[in-house]
Symmetry: C2
Subunit: 236 residues, 2 copies
């Protein structure tokens, strides 16, 4: 029987990884910067190459670092957002049950409400026209349910992008990644729903263009809550 104790002493690789991680988090190593070569790290820490590689593999798996054979390892350009996006995507994938879906939907609803208000109140004309363009793309794709679903996702991401909120954009990106796509795609079992969805999106776009935050929020909430109901019905 395996012992209960889960705490084990950190390995050499973990210690080295922690040190590099700290250099990244503190800003001493910035996105795009090159890490010391494995040879240098071996010399600095007095350990073997395999331990150093264990550290780099860990950082790479977490999205902090990318390695290119023959060139070196570099701090990832999207070191700020990718790990969060991916771990949220994994969280969503692990929560395929009813309650998990409800909780993820709570988050999505909160984030989009916040952003649609901000976009309506503070968004620039260019931001609003991008939302309109995303809506037009949905109309064009209404023949193909899969591509329509993708355009739907793009619309909601544009909504958050227009609010200029990096954290919320990252969160929504995570919710939509991986199997999180079921958020939007699985709603379109019947073609009749497409027309309804288009109408609801158009209402949001027009309220945003009119600068009416309350109305935009209302239409968005209506759309999202109705989508959830559809999803739960079809999910059984």
């Amino acid at each position: 029987m395996p012992s209960k104790r889960a705490r084990t002493n950190p390995t050499v690789g973990e210690r080295i990884g922690r040190e590099i991680e700290l250099a990244i988090l503190s800003g001493r190593l910035r996105p795009g910067d090159r890490l010391p070569t494995e040879e240098e790290l071996v010399a600095r820490h007095g350990s073997s190459r395999s331990a150093v590689r264990e550290a780099v593999h860990g950082l790479r798996a977490r999205g902090l670092v990318i390695s290119r054979r023959g060139s070196g390892s570099y701090v990832a350009a999207d070191v700020g957002t990718r790990p969060l996006r991916e771990s949220l995507g994994h969280y969503a994938t692990l929560r395929a049950n009813e309650r998990g879906y409800t909780e993820l939907f709570d988050l999505r609803l909160m984030v989009e409400r916040f952003c649609v208000r901000r976009l309506a109140l503070l968004g620039k004309a260019a931001d609003r026209s991008r939302l309109r363009a995303a809506f037009e793309r949905m109309k064009m794709e209404k023949g193909d349910l899969t591509r329509f679903g993708e355009a739907d996702i793009a619309f909601h991401q544009e909504l958050v992008a227009g609010a200029k909120h990096e954290l919320f954009a990252t969160i929504l990106g995570g919710l939509f990644s991986d199997l999180g796509r079921r958020f939007a795609q699985d709603s379109y079992h019947r073609v009749s729903q497409v027309r309804q969805v288009l109408l609801e999106h158009e209402a949001v776009v027009e309220a945003v263009e009119a600068g009416d935050a309350d109305l935009a929020e209302g239409h968005l909430v209506t759309h999202l809550v109705r989508s959830r109901a559809d999803f739960q019905k079809s999910d059984g």
Copy 2:
């Protein structure tokens, strides 16, 4: 000059890691389950042990797996929440600037608002008494600013825990982890603030106990927004 292309072919270790990850995310490997031994993985994939180890190191760094020398590697018990909590903590650590703080605060405010409403409306007596207990702990620690700050964090986590929302509890845990502690601690530069903070918390507790969601939300928002103002003032 390094080439622009960031996309490189996945390594053998990454492919193996992806496969194990899929087994975990799909539920075929459940928390506490033991992974195949390195020897078995070597045989199954026809690769070397170093490639297999690269895969396991990646999963371990991401918190999906823990390894115990002499025993084996196991799917982590908290595989669902830890990666999200940690990546959010890292995100917060990387966002020490003004705008990043504001965005993180947006998230915190949304989450706590949601939870305090739910606790006031649907919370059971036991949940509410735990919130009261967390408040009493704060009063006891008012002499030591550091411990008071910790009790403050514990109070807000209790608030979210009482709402029985795993996702939001995980998010708040991430916001408070690591240097995210500055959220609460850095607010107590002056002892005079302690009394103010205690009063605001007490108002929240009482509104929750009275089952008044609107009032509880109002007091909580007041407290948090005022805390943010204090923080921004002291941050300069």
